[in-house]
């Protein structure tokens, strides 16, 4: 607080109160830390500081090496001495339909094959709403003959006729 010549008793009093509060808080923290230190509750301080130091050092090292053009493990040789194409080209049988699929394209295939995914879900809700429009008043939708749930859209039925297991 500045020593103003024209500091009013009012502002003097407020700085006085402020300083008291500040002192009180500082002693509070000092007292707490003193106890923690004497009772050995912070015995891991050194270990923690070492970890911080190692991480800071690591970041500096990595920043330096990235400037010299490292990383990017794709298109490199792995530790077993192998190289791999960008899209996995192992071929195996789909366990749903039996077709031969390339590994890197398996997920999108399986999605359609199992009738899952956003597109399949959108398709089914679209068709069920169309049906509901036509069969107003009929509690069971014509498109879900195997459904044992109320036809208010909760039963998801897929093009291949199988019910979604939840």
């Amino acid at each position: 607080m500045s020593n103003d010549d024209n500091s009013s008793p009012h502002s003097q009093l407020s700085s006085h109160v402020f300083e008291n509060l500040l002192d009180s808080i500082i002693v509070d923290i000092a007292s707490e830390c003193h106890r923690i230190s004497i009772l050995g509750l912070d015995c891991n301080l050194e270990g923690e500081e070492e970890e911080l130091r190692l991480s800071a050092q690591a970041r500096r090292r990595v920043a330096d090496s990235s400037n010299s053009g490292e990383t990017n493990s794709k298109h490199v040789v792995d530790i077993f001495g192998q190289t791999h194409p960008a899209i996995a080209n192992e071929i195996f049988e789909c366990m749903n339909c039996g077709r031969s699929i390339m590994a890197g394209r398996f997920a999108p295939h399986l999605e359609k094959c199992m009738g899952k995914g956003r597109k399949a879900r959108l398709k089914s809700t679209r068709s069920s709403t169309t049906q509901n429009r036509h069969s107003r008043g009929n509690p069971v939708s014509v498109y879900a003959p195997y459904s044992n749930r109320a036809a208010n859209g909760t039963a998801d039925e897929y093009a291949n006729g199988s019910l979604e297991e939840s």
Binding site: G40, L54, S55, S73, V76, F92
Partner: protein
């Protein structure tokens, strides 16, 4: 620093405190008890008069530190306290903090008997609700851990590439799945469970066939498919493996997540644990009675969180316990140099509940402003930290990724975040045997063994896992497995960090090498 076996270092008293104790023992402490006042947030002060503020008996000063003499009950400011000590009254109590003070040494001093007296006063006033049965040491769990340790003793062998290290083919935006699978493959207790044939596929298939006669068509068991992935990874074959069957199986079980698009690795992790739990639960006998679930997913990852909600008016605390399989941490937006321990500090910090979250205080009988504080009641064998890097708006239309670097240690001591530490801290770290303290220190030292990182944007990002084997770090980037420096891992942007209890890490077969014989024989 030497490893401490006790919770506290018992502090040596100064000569003045020792003399005081000899002459007065705990009389002074006990006579002080009526003047001790504890705030609802756990802080204790000295309050001698209901109507007047404390003042120095010599100069009437009422600001700064004031000391209450334990022998004659007079109050003095620091200067007059020193004078007072010359008449032989050296030991006083800081009025503001209820801490012992030696006016000759001019330093804060400690006495377990004093802390005991303070805590007893607090216990008398606070109505701490009993929360179920007292914690009994979990002998069963320790025995199981011992079995795992015995069975994974290092065997002699030719040193070559670490066992179980194998690339996983990306099947089309499935790096979120590959990254978590790599972490699971090298989670010591999980690896030991599957490699020790604890989930026997033949027995499981037979059980499912029996179940198939009645009820709906039985799907594959996810734990069986996890077992198959373990077998493939530890087979010794180093060409990348395609976890296609696993993907198919998971999509059958987690229909809501079944779609060809980049997904959240954390969501996948939780989903996988849920499915394993579901399957194992139905076959576990006898059924778990009001206690822990014994499925492998929970035995490995499940811990218990404690939540305390304290009324800010009367101090009444309501405590609840909830199981958890991971700890999700918020990044501090203001903190540029943020750390994992800093996030844990935030996680266990008392949080003021908003005005719209006022809780009904049983003691006061009405809704009051409350403080909520989280802590860890029981640590799991394997700790998964989830860094909340993806912020989604409620409509999930606007999401963004937080790229802030988070420092994480390789060796982590979780002691400060345990319920025992947090509650003790709430009451000023008094030397006192709190309820729930273990006689022997609960294992709370952890070692990191897998880090799943996410680089790039929210929608078009890429997951990669770093695994630690035989104290070397390997980067598992789908099919590509390369060795990286420790520095590369320390500097990486962690999204999921997996830590295992230190004793499981050191003994858990980190010396395992690749063997010519089949994996099943090696672990027995």
């Amino acid at each position: 620093m030497s490893k401490r076996n006790l919770t506290y270092t018992n502090p040596e008293p100064c000569s003045h405190l020792a003399e005081y104790k000899q002459n007065h023992s705990s009389r002074g402490y006990n006579s002080l008890q009526p003047s001790l006042k504890t705030n609802p947030n756990g802080r204790t002060t000295i309050k001698t008069s209901q109507s007047q503020i404390p003042r120095c008996g010599s100069c009437s000063a009422d600001e700064g530190r004031l000391y209450f003499c334990l022998i004659c009950s007079s109050i003095h400011c620091p200067d007059h306290a020193i004078l007072h000590s010359q008449v032989g009254h050296a030991i006083a109590v800081d009025v503001d903090r209820a801490e012992l003070f030696c006016c000759v040494c001019n330093d804060q001093v400690y006495d377990p008997d004093f802390d005991n007296a303070v805590m007893h006063k607090q216990m008398k006033l606070k109505k701490n609700p009993q929360n179920g049965k007292l914690e009994t040491p979990d002998k069963k769990r320790r025995r199981k851990v011992a079995i795992l340790e015995r069975e994974t003793e290092a065997t002699e062998g030719v040193s070559c590439f670490p066992w179980g290290l194998r690339g996983l083919n990306n099947l089309g935006s499935t790096c979120f799945m590959n990254s978590v699978l790599q972490a699971m493959l090298h989670t010591p207790p999980l690896r030991n469970y599957f490699l020790n044939d604890r989930h026997n596929r033949e027995i499981c298939q037979r059980r499912r066939r029996i179940g198939r006669r009645r009820g709906p068509p039985e799907m594959s068991c996810l734990a069986c498919d996890v077992d198959a992935v373990f077998l493939a990874a530890f087979s010794g074959d180093r060409t990348p493996y395609s976890p296609a069957r696993f993907l198919h199986s998971w999509w059958q079980h987690a229909a809501n997540l079944a779609s060809y698009e980049q997904q959240d690795a954390h969501e996948f992790f939780i989903s996988m644990l849920d499915r394993i739990h579901e399957k194992e639960q139905s076959t576990l006998q006898p059924k778990v009675v009001g206690g822990d679930c014994h499925c492998v997913a929970h035995r490995v990852f499940s811990g218990v969180l404690r939540s305390d909600v304290t009324c800010t008016v009367c101090g009444f605390t309501s405590t609840t316990y909830d199981p958890c399989v991971d700890i999700s941490l918020d990044l501090d937006p203001r903190n540029i140099a943020s750390t994992l321990t800093g996030c844990l500090d935030l996680f266990t910090r008392p949080e003021k509940l908003g005005p719209d979250q006022k809780l009904h205080c049983e003691h006061c009988g009405l809704r009051q402003d409350s403080l909520k504080q989280m802590s860890i009641k029981r640590l799991p064998s394997v700790l998964c930290f989830h860094v909340k890097r993806f912020e989604h708006s409620s409509a999930r239309r606007t999401s963004k990724k937080v790229d802030q670097y988070l420092q994480f240690p390789f060796s982590l001591d979780m002691t400060p975040y345990l319920s025992s530490s947090v509650i003790r801290n709430r009451f000023g770290n008094r030397i006192f045997a709190f309820e729930g303290d273990d006689a022997c220190k609960a294992p709370s030292e952890f070692e990191v063994f897998a880090v799943v990182t996410h680089t790039g944007k929210l929608e078009s990002g890429h997951y990669v896992t770093y695994v630690r084997l035989r104290n070397e770090w390997y980067k598992c980037d789908d099919a590509w497995v390369t060795r990286v420096s420790e520095a590369a891992v320390r500097a990486s942007q962690g999204y999921l960090m997996y830590y295992v209890q230190k004793m499981l890490y050191c003994r858990g077969g980190e010396e395992m090498n690749c063997m010519a014989t089949s994996p099943r024989h090696c672990c027995l």
